[in-house]
């Protein structure tokens, strides 16, 4: 551990404001209501999100984000190395074939000597109560509890100044919780590491805390205080949108009698003071509670909104018909003008229909790159004279046809994103159903397709989640080498696939318990009727396509 330098964790929410300082060698606990953004905030401190603009995070003198080339922000790898991160259910991220590999994976970014690695590994194993012989074990043959313990060893093995933990006691048994408490207390007191942890387990976390942070329900402000002050001010829980913990509510009359706050953590002492005459509450010590305005509440609100596109109000059948008409017309375009017109229509539809394509940016970009690559490859060939070289003409022809495909792809993606899968299923059913029934095989097929579509956004966010954890563990900065990308991919893909299996298993159980598939002929609901606006949409699109079709040869 490099304790020579100053290693407090500093968070400045606005340029002119005093920073929040979390001291190394102390334990800080973050409480907050569900959905207030605790995890998001902790991930921002780990550099896994950019966080709100104007917020600056420093580990000692190391800034988390650096201005890179062209003014882009890039993660500072040295700052990333200043912390070790443990997500909720950290055992999901294990990727090694042996315990040793797993620990080395965490140590890799630190480039330590092999003796130092060995020393650290043995110390980490000892901390979780294991011996050297565990190094050769396979993580896949460990029980759930043992995998959790290995994940804890991975957190402890890194030579970092800070330990960031998200709900570390969730799912731990009582001995495991006690072990974790001892380890964290020792790490802070003896080795001077700073600990920041999220918890909803107040009984476990409050006695351990040196400082407490309360995140407001809207994620817009943060109160910093001591645990004793929090005990004296139960209203602070409510101000942060949380219920006062039941045990604290029950103790409240006792605390008002002037009993020393420190005895709350020692039930035997508390029991001895029971029923003793009410004392005048003595001078209460000066308060040091500070509320920080974070100013990113509105940004968080926006993150949540805007998921419903305005074209969802049309009948899915009208939308599909419009899509087919437009696609035919765009594909028929022979000139660049026509392709440009198609592109303009696609852009207008996306913008006007408020179709949330931003989420798919990466996917769209890779398709664009693919389009260009194919065109360039198509352009390489012999010219009329038999000479090898780059043929501008062939390139443009290929690009023209690829561009039209790209436009149609964009429109189709927009359509798929904005029609909710279950509406799609219902519209297909109403087309394919006969006398209120639908053939079981078709029904099964439709259900499968709808469920796949329904879960794609979840797959996407799972992928993003494991990708963030891979950054936290691999300590990569922004731009990465090919090797770095491959490593991150493998660190992400394996836990992602396992998580898909779990999701699939849970979804299957949920479907079974709902009785899906038990009835041969489930009820067929009719869609709400085809409305006037649907007719208007189809007519307008039909006219537009006709015009496009008529001018398809112009200028070619």
């Amino acid at each position: 551990m490099t304790l020579a330098r100053e290693s407090d964790l500093l968070v400045r929410f606005r340029e002119d404001a005093n920073p929040l300082r979390l001291r190394s060698g102390s334990i800080t606990v973050l409480f907050g209501r569900n959905g207030a953004g605790k995890t998001y905030w902790l991930e921002s401190l780990a550099g896994l999100h950019q966080g709100a603009s104007g917020t600056e995070v420093r580990y000692g003198s190391l800034r988390l984000w650096k201005e890179g080339r062209r003014g882009r922000k890039a993660r500072n790898p040295d700052a990333l190395k200043a912390y070790a991160y443990s997500s909720q259910a950290p055992e999901e991220q294990l990727v090694g074939r042996t315990v040793e590999e797993e620990l080395l994976e965490t140590l890799k970014p630190y480039s330590l000597s092999s003796e130092e690695c060995k020393r650290r590994m043995l110390a980490a194993l000892e901390a979780v109560g294991w011996e050297e012989s565990w190094l050769v074990r396979s993580p896949y043959r460990l029980s759930g509890g043992e995998r959790r313990r290995l994940a804890l060893a991975c957190l402890l093995v890194a030579p970092s100044d800070w330990l960031l933990l998200d709900e570390p006691t969730a799912g731990l048994d009582a001995p495991g919780q006690e072990r974790l408490r001892q380890i964290l207390a020792e790490r802070a007191a003896r080795e001077g590491q700073g600990v920041l942890l999220i918890s909803h387990d107040t009984e476990w976390a409050l006695p351990l805390a040196d400082r407490v942070l309360l995140l407001a329900a809207d994620g817009g402000s943060l109160r910093e205080c001591s645990p004793e002050e929090l005990l004296r001010h139960p209203e602070w829980w409510e101000e942060a949108g949380m219920a006062v913990p039941a045990w604290l509510k029950i103790l409240a009359p006792l605390l008002r009698t002037g009993i020393p706050i420190s005895s709350v953590w020692k039930p035997s002492e508390l029991a001895r003071q029971w029923g003793s005459p009410v004392r005048e509450a003595g001078e209460s010590p000066p308060e040091s509670s500070v509320v920080y305005r974070m100013g990113n509440a509105s940004a968080r609100q926006e993150r949540k909104k805007g998921s419903l596109s305005s074209i969802a109000f049309f009948d899915p059948r009208a939308l599909w018909l419009s899509y087919v008409l437009l696609s035919v017309a765009i594909l028929a375009q022979q000139s660049w003008w026509g392709a440009a017109a198609g592109g303009a229509i696609a852009a207008a539809a996306t913008w006007g229909g408020r179709i949330p394509l931003g989420r798919w940016r990466g996917f769209i970009l890779s398709f664009l790159v693919f389009t260009l690559t194919v065109s360039v490859v198509a352009g390489i060939g012999r010219d009329a004279g038999g000479q090898w070289g780059f043929q501008g003409e062939a390139f443009l022809t290929a690009l023209h046809s690829m561009a039209r495909t790209f436009i149609i792809f964009l429109l189709g993606l927009g359509l798929a994103v904005s029609i909710t899968p279950i509406r799609l299923r219902r519209s297909l059913e109403s087309v394919l159903g006969f006398r209120g029934r639908i053939a079981p095989a078709v029904q099964k097929f439709l259900l499968t397709v709808t469920l796949m579509l329904r879960f794609i956004p979840i797959f996407l966010s799972e992928w993003e989640r494991f990708n963030r954890y891979a950054i936290a563990r691999g300590k990569e900065a922004g731009r990465r080498s090919l090797g770095g990308s491959v490593r991150r991919l493998s660190r992400t893909a394996q836990p992602f696939l396992l998580s898909l299996f779990r999701l699939g298993d849970q979804a299957a159980v949920a479907l079974e318990s709902r009785g899906v598939g038990r009835q041969k002929y489930p009820t067929l609901l009719r869609l709400s009727n085809w409305g006037k606006r649907d007719t208007v949409l189809v007519v307008v699109v039909l006219l537009l396509s006709l015009v496009l079709w008529l001018v398809r040869g112009l200028g070619a």
């Binding site: 009582a174 998921s307 909710t420 279950i422 979840i458 318990s513």
Partner: protein, 280 residues
Amino acid sequence: MDERLLVNHLSVLTEDERGETSARLDDLSLELNRGEWLYLVGVNGSGKSTLGRILAGIYEEGAVGSMERGFAGEGAAAYVMQQPDAQLFADTPREEVTFALEWQAVPAEEIPLRVEAALEEAGLLELADSPWAELSGGQRQLAAVVAASACRTPLIVFDEATSMLDDETAHRVRTLAKILHEQGTAVVWLTQRLEELEPDARVVALLEGRIRFDGFGREFLYGERRDDRARVETPCEECGLRLPYLAELAFELYRAGRVDWPLPMTPEEWANTMERGFAR
């Protein structure tokens, strides 16, 4: 005819990649009455989730032994999990409940009204047409409960359904479960939150795939009635669970001779205890 749900000498065996078998449930027997409320507790890996699934009538690979479904009837019962996202198949609460009723072959013309009524009961009517992203985790969990119980099943199993929720939303999910229970549904409530237990409700605690305790909530926390002012290991601790802070305090008060059996457990009992403590 016996209408109890009976699990007889049931084991669930898993074989790992080396071909070694281990038992997730080990020769376990249990009975559940119609309309009963049962708390099922235990640490992770104790087998409580497996038992929860078995009780819900969901197929479990490697299960040997027998079970009589009794009042629960054939087919799977309603089952609500920890993570709402994996058990929601539509995009809004209204669509979700509609989807559930469709598969129960409820006549088409009845569906909209029944959906409306179910959502109203859960206090979700205002959010009926909001996409999931605009609902909190707790609201999504409520929607999952409504969809799972949309057909008034005789049995519903909650598998740590409140462990990801804060106290307030957890309370709403529980209230909904209580409503179902009052209407005659048997409820199996799996939890790690011991403060949810009630003194006079049945608690079954598992350890390593076996039932370690089957009795009332107060006995689970404090053990059997005793008069020697001693602090002994309680069934709760024997199962690897941490004794809640208040229970610890109750024991200390008992040792110091300040309170007597039965030790306080509910907020009301604690309020009485506190009052007596200061009346002296």
